[in-house]
Protein backbone atom coordinates (compact mmCIF):
# COMPACT_ATOMS: atom_id res chain seq x y z
CA UNK A 1 0.00 0.00 0.00
CA UNK A 2 2.85 2.30 0.94
CA UNK A 3 4.56 1.62 -2.37
CA UNK A 4 1.38 2.35 -4.28
CA UNK A 5 1.04 5.79 -2.70
CA UNK A 6 4.74 6.47 -3.31
CA UNK A 7 4.54 5.43 -6.95
CA UNK A 8 1.57 7.66 -7.67
CA UNK A 9 2.89 10.66 -5.73
CA UNK A 10 6.37 10.49 -7.26
CA UNK A 11 4.93 10.39 -10.76
CA UNK A 12 2.89 13.54 -10.23
CA UNK A 13 5.13 15.91 -8.28
CA UNK A 14 8.10 17.98 -9.43
CA UNK A 15 10.30 16.87 -6.53
CA UNK A 16 9.93 13.08 -6.32
CA UNK A 17 12.93 12.80 -4.00
CA UNK A 18 10.95 14.65 -1.36
CA UNK A 19 8.02 12.24 -1.35
CA UNK A 20 7.79 10.43 1.97
CA UNK A 21 5.12 7.92 2.94
CA UNK A 22 4.77 6.67 6.47
CA UNK A 23 2.58 3.63 7.01
CA UNK A 24 0.75 3.16 10.29
CA UNK A 25 -0.81 -0.29 10.30
CA UNK A 26 -3.81 -0.98 12.50
CA UNK A 27 -5.87 -4.11 12.81
CA UNK A 28 -8.47 -3.19 10.25
CA UNK A 29 -7.08 -0.01 8.82
CA UNK A 30 -3.91 1.43 7.40
CA UNK A 31 -3.06 5.08 7.70
CA UNK A 32 -0.75 6.36 5.01
CA UNK A 33 0.84 9.64 5.91
CA UNK A 34 2.00 11.30 2.73
CA UNK A 35 4.26 14.29 2.71
CA UNK A 36 5.64 16.13 -0.29
CA UNK A 37 7.64 19.31 -0.91
CA UNK A 38 5.65 22.39 0.00
CA UNK A 39 5.60 23.62 -3.60
CA UNK A 40 4.14 20.27 -4.66
CA UNK A 41 1.13 20.46 -2.34
CA UNK A 42 -1.06 21.81 -5.12
CA UNK A 43 0.05 19.02 -7.43
CA UNK A 44 -1.00 16.37 -4.93
CA UNK A 45 -4.28 17.97 -3.86
CA UNK A 46 -5.47 19.51 -7.10
CA UNK A 47 -8.28 21.91 -7.77
CA UNK A 48 -11.05 21.27 -5.28
CA UNK A 49 -9.11 18.26 -4.03
CA UNK A 50 -9.61 16.36 -7.25
CA UNK A 51 -6.17 14.77 -7.37
CA UNK A 52 -6.23 13.82 -3.67
CA UNK A 53 -9.64 12.25 -4.23
CA UNK A 54 -8.37 10.18 -7.16
CA UNK A 55 -5.39 8.95 -5.13
CA UNK A 56 -7.68 7.97 -2.26
CA UNK A 57 -10.04 6.11 -4.59
CA UNK A 58 -7.21 4.03 -6.05
CA UNK A 59 -5.65 3.30 -2.67
CA UNK A 60 -9.00 2.39 -1.20
CA UNK A 61 -9.56 -0.13 -3.99
CA UNK A 62 -6.19 -1.74 -3.36
CA UNK A 63 -6.88 -1.89 0.38
CA UNK A 64 -10.29 -3.50 -0.08
CA UNK A 65 -8.58 -6.43 -1.70
CA UNK A 66 -6.58 -6.94 1.48
CA UNK A 67 -9.72 -6.57 3.55
CA UNK A 68 -8.57 -3.30 5.04
CA UNK A 69 -9.56 0.31 5.16
CA UNK A 70 -6.96 2.77 3.95
CA UNK A 71 -6.74 6.37 4.93
CA UNK A 72 -4.44 8.64 2.97
CA UNK A 73 -3.46 11.53 5.17
CA UNK A 74 -1.73 14.37 3.35
CA UNK A 75 0.60 16.08 5.80
CA UNK A 76 0.72 19.83 6.20
CA UNK A 77 4.22 21.20 6.17
Amino acid sequence: MKELVETIAKAIVDNPEQVVVNEVVGEKSVILELSVAEEDMGKIIGRQGRIARAIRTVVKAAATREGKKAIVDIQDN
Binding site: L4, A54, T57
Partner: protein, 211 residues
Protein backbone atom coordinates in the same frame (compact mmCIF):
# COMPACT_ATOMS: atom_id res chain seq x y z
CA UNK B 1 20.09 11.26 -16.94
CA UNK B 2 17.77 12.64 -19.59
CA UNK B 3 18.82 16.26 -19.82
CA UNK B 4 22.11 17.90 -20.69
CA UNK B 5 23.50 21.36 -21.32
CA UNK B 6 26.47 21.26 -23.64
CA UNK B 7 29.02 23.74 -24.96
CA UNK B 8 30.89 23.44 -28.20
CA UNK B 9 32.72 25.56 -30.75
CA UNK B 10 29.65 25.47 -32.95
CA UNK B 11 26.00 24.50 -32.44
CA UNK B 12 26.54 21.36 -34.53
CA UNK B 13 29.48 20.30 -32.44
CA UNK B 14 27.66 20.90 -29.15
CA UNK B 15 24.64 18.88 -30.33
CA UNK B 16 26.87 16.07 -31.49
CA UNK B 17 28.66 15.83 -28.13
CA UNK B 18 25.41 16.02 -26.19
CA UNK B 19 23.76 13.26 -28.25
CA UNK B 20 26.83 11.13 -27.77
CA UNK B 21 26.72 11.60 -24.01
CA UNK B 22 23.01 10.79 -23.82
CA UNK B 23 23.33 7.90 -26.23
CA UNK B 24 20.58 9.23 -28.48
CA UNK B 25 19.96 9.70 -32.16
CA UNK B 26 18.95 13.17 -33.30
CA UNK B 27 15.28 12.22 -33.85
CA UNK B 28 15.03 10.93 -30.29
CA UNK B 29 16.06 14.24 -28.79
CA UNK B 30 14.64 17.67 -28.24
CA UNK B 31 17.26 20.29 -29.00
CA UNK B 32 17.17 23.88 -27.84
CA UNK B 33 19.83 26.38 -28.83
CA UNK B 34 20.70 28.61 -25.88
CA UNK B 35 23.60 30.48 -27.47
CA UNK B 36 24.63 30.24 -31.09
CA UNK B 37 28.15 31.20 -30.13
CA UNK B 38 30.41 33.58 -32.01
CA UNK B 39 33.72 33.25 -33.74
CA UNK B 40 34.61 36.74 -32.55
CA UNK B 41 36.81 39.20 -34.41
CA UNK B 42 39.43 37.37 -36.42
CA UNK B 43 38.73 34.39 -34.22
CA UNK B 44 40.45 36.15 -31.34
CA UNK B 45 38.40 38.77 -29.54
CA UNK B 46 34.94 38.03 -28.17
CA UNK B 47 34.85 34.41 -29.27
CA UNK B 48 32.10 32.52 -27.53
CA UNK B 49 31.19 28.88 -27.40
CA UNK B 50 27.81 27.70 -28.62
CA UNK B 51 25.50 26.32 -25.93
CA UNK B 52 22.66 23.86 -26.46
CA UNK B 53 20.25 22.00 -24.25
CA UNK B 54 19.37 18.49 -25.27
CA UNK B 55 16.80 16.30 -23.64
CA UNK B 56 15.12 12.99 -24.30
CA UNK B 57 11.94 13.39 -26.26
CA UNK B 58 9.18 11.95 -24.14
CA UNK B 59 7.02 9.27 -25.62
CA UNK B 60 3.58 9.90 -24.08
CA UNK B 61 2.23 6.43 -24.95
CA UNK B 62 5.14 4.74 -23.26
CA UNK B 63 5.03 7.07 -20.23
CA UNK B 64 1.38 6.22 -19.63
CA UNK B 65 1.87 2.52 -20.19
CA UNK B 66 4.74 2.36 -17.71
CA UNK B 67 2.80 4.30 -15.09
CA UNK B 68 -0.21 2.01 -15.47
CA UNK B 69 1.87 -1.16 -15.30
CA UNK B 70 3.58 0.21 -12.25
CA UNK B 71 0.47 0.97 -10.25
CA UNK B 72 -1.32 -2.22 -11.32
CA UNK B 73 1.65 -4.17 -10.04
CA UNK B 74 1.53 -2.27 -6.73
CA UNK B 75 -2.17 -3.09 -6.51
CA UNK B 76 -1.25 -6.79 -6.88
CA UNK B 77 -3.25 -6.89 -10.07
CA UNK B 78 -2.06 -9.20 -12.79
CA UNK B 79 -2.97 -7.37 -15.93
CA UNK B 80 -1.59 -6.41 -19.29
CA UNK B 81 -1.72 -2.86 -20.58
CA UNK B 82 -1.99 -2.24 -24.29
CA UNK B 83 -2.46 0.82 -26.44
CA UNK B 84 -5.55 0.41 -28.61
CA UNK B 85 -4.20 1.78 -31.88
CA UNK B 86 -7.63 1.97 -33.50
CA UNK B 87 -8.83 4.41 -30.86
CA UNK B 88 -5.59 6.35 -30.55
CA UNK B 89 -4.87 9.41 -32.65
CA UNK B 90 -3.09 12.78 -32.48
CA UNK B 91 -5.30 13.92 -29.62
CA UNK B 92 -5.93 10.89 -27.47
CA UNK B 93 -4.36 7.70 -26.24
CA UNK B 94 -6.61 4.76 -25.52
CA UNK B 95 -5.37 2.04 -23.18
CA UNK B 96 -6.90 -1.37 -22.70
CA UNK B 97 -6.26 -3.32 -19.55
CA UNK B 98 -6.79 -7.06 -19.78
CA UNK B 99 -6.48 -9.76 -17.22
CA UNK B 100 -8.39 -11.79 -14.68
CA UNK B 101 -10.19 -10.19 -11.76
CA UNK B 102 -10.30 -6.58 -12.88
CA UNK B 103 -13.30 -5.71 -10.72
CA UNK B 104 -11.01 -4.08 -8.21
CA UNK B 105 -9.58 -1.61 -10.72
CA UNK B 106 -12.99 -0.82 -12.21
CA UNK B 107 -14.76 -0.15 -8.93
CA UNK B 108 -18.32 0.90 -8.28
CA UNK B 109 -19.69 2.42 -11.52
CA UNK B 110 -16.15 2.64 -12.86
CA UNK B 111 -15.10 5.00 -10.10
CA UNK B 112 -11.66 3.45 -9.65
CA UNK B 113 -11.08 3.18 -13.39
CA UNK B 114 -11.91 6.89 -13.71
CA UNK B 115 -9.48 7.76 -10.91
CA UNK B 116 -6.67 5.75 -12.52
CA UNK B 117 -7.48 7.32 -15.87
CA UNK B 118 -7.29 10.81 -14.38
CA UNK B 119 -3.96 10.14 -12.64
CA UNK B 120 -2.54 8.67 -15.86
CA UNK B 121 -3.55 11.78 -17.75
CA UNK B 122 -1.71 13.94 -15.18
CA UNK B 123 1.43 11.84 -15.54
CA UNK B 124 1.37 11.77 -19.35
CA UNK B 125 0.70 15.49 -19.70
CA UNK B 126 3.21 16.52 -17.07
CA UNK B 127 6.15 16.16 -19.46
CA UNK B 128 4.27 16.69 -22.67
CA UNK B 129 4.35 19.94 -24.60
CA UNK B 130 0.71 19.54 -25.54
CA UNK B 131 -2.43 18.03 -24.10
CA UNK B 132 -3.32 14.38 -24.60
CA UNK B 133 -6.69 13.00 -23.66
CA UNK B 134 -6.22 9.70 -21.89
CA UNK B 135 -8.87 6.99 -22.05
CA UNK B 136 -8.77 3.77 -20.16
CA UNK B 137 -10.85 0.65 -20.47
CA UNK B 138 -10.69 -2.64 -18.62
CA UNK B 139 -12.11 -5.81 -20.17
CA UNK B 140 -14.58 -3.87 -22.29
CA UNK B 141 -16.22 -2.21 -19.29
CA UNK B 142 -16.62 1.19 -20.97
CA UNK B 143 -18.35 -0.28 -24.00
CA UNK B 144 -20.81 -2.24 -21.87
CA UNK B 145 -21.46 0.83 -19.74
CA UNK B 146 -22.02 2.92 -22.85
CA UNK B 147 -24.67 0.49 -24.10
CA UNK B 148 -26.34 0.47 -20.69
CA UNK B 149 -26.40 4.28 -20.57
CA UNK B 150 -27.79 4.57 -24.10
CA UNK B 151 -30.64 2.23 -23.22
CA UNK B 152 -31.26 4.10 -19.98
CA UNK B 153 -31.31 7.42 -21.84
CA UNK B 154 -33.87 6.12 -24.33
CA UNK B 155 -36.11 4.72 -21.61
CA UNK B 156 -36.03 7.90 -19.52
CA UNK B 157 -36.58 10.09 -22.57
CA UNK B 158 -39.74 8.12 -23.34
CA UNK B 159 -40.82 8.60 -19.76
CA UNK B 160 -40.27 12.37 -19.99
CA UNK B 161 -42.28 12.49 -23.23
CA UNK B 162 -45.10 10.40 -21.78
CA UNK B 163 -45.43 12.21 -18.47
CA UNK B 164 -44.33 15.73 -19.40
CA UNK B 165 -42.26 15.76 -16.24
CA UNK B 166 -38.57 16.49 -15.88
CA UNK B 167 -36.55 13.32 -15.40
CA UNK B 168 -33.51 13.68 -13.17
CA UNK B 169 -30.70 11.15 -13.54
CA UNK B 170 -28.24 10.12 -10.87
CA UNK B 171 -24.88 11.95 -10.68
CA UNK B 172 -22.40 10.85 -13.35
CA UNK B 173 -18.88 11.76 -14.45
CA UNK B 174 -18.57 14.04 -17.52
CA UNK B 175 -17.99 11.34 -20.14
CA UNK B 176 -21.05 9.41 -18.99
CA UNK B 177 -23.22 12.53 -19.09
CA UNK B 178 -21.92 13.11 -22.59
CA UNK B 179 -23.12 9.65 -23.65
CA UNK B 180 -26.65 10.54 -22.45
CA UNK B 181 -26.64 13.91 -24.25
CA UNK B 182 -25.32 12.34 -27.46
CA UNK B 183 -27.82 9.47 -27.36
CA UNK B 184 -30.75 11.89 -27.25
CA UNK B 185 -29.37 14.65 -29.45
CA UNK B 186 -31.49 13.72 -32.45
CA UNK B 187 -34.75 13.56 -30.56
CA UNK B 188 -36.37 16.97 -30.94
CA UNK B 189 -39.24 16.15 -28.58
CA UNK B 190 -36.95 16.49 -25.59
CA UNK B 191 -33.97 18.51 -24.45
CA UNK B 192 -31.16 17.45 -22.13
CA UNK B 193 -28.95 19.53 -19.89
CA UNK B 194 -26.81 19.16 -16.78
CA UNK B 195 -27.14 20.69 -13.36
CA UNK B 196 -25.14 20.76 -10.12
CA UNK B 197 -21.51 20.73 -9.20
CA UNK B 198 -19.00 17.94 -9.75
CA UNK B 199 -18.97 15.21 -8.62
CA UNK B 200 -22.72 15.47 -8.13
CA UNK B 201 -23.51 16.93 -11.52
CA UNK B 202 -26.44 15.17 -13.15
CA UNK B 203 -28.35 15.11 -16.41
CA UNK B 204 -31.96 16.21 -16.71
CA UNK B 205 -34.30 15.29 -19.52
CA UNK B 206 -37.21 17.58 -20.25
CA UNK B 207 -40.04 17.44 -22.75
CA UNK B 208 -40.08 20.29 -25.24
CA UNK B 209 -43.60 21.60 -25.64
CA UNK B 210 -44.06 23.73 -28.72
CA UNK B 211 -46.90 26.20 -28.74
Amino acid sequence: MNFIRQEGKTVEEAVEIALEKLGLREEEAEIKVIDEGSKGLLGLIGARNAVVEVKVKVNPMQTGKEFLENILEKMSCQARVEVDESKTDEEQIYYNINGPDLGIIIGHRGETLDAIQYLTSLVVNKHSDRYWRILLDAEGYRLRREETLEKLARRLADKAIATGRKVVLEPMPPHERRIIHMALREDKRISTYSEGKEPFRRVLIERVDRI
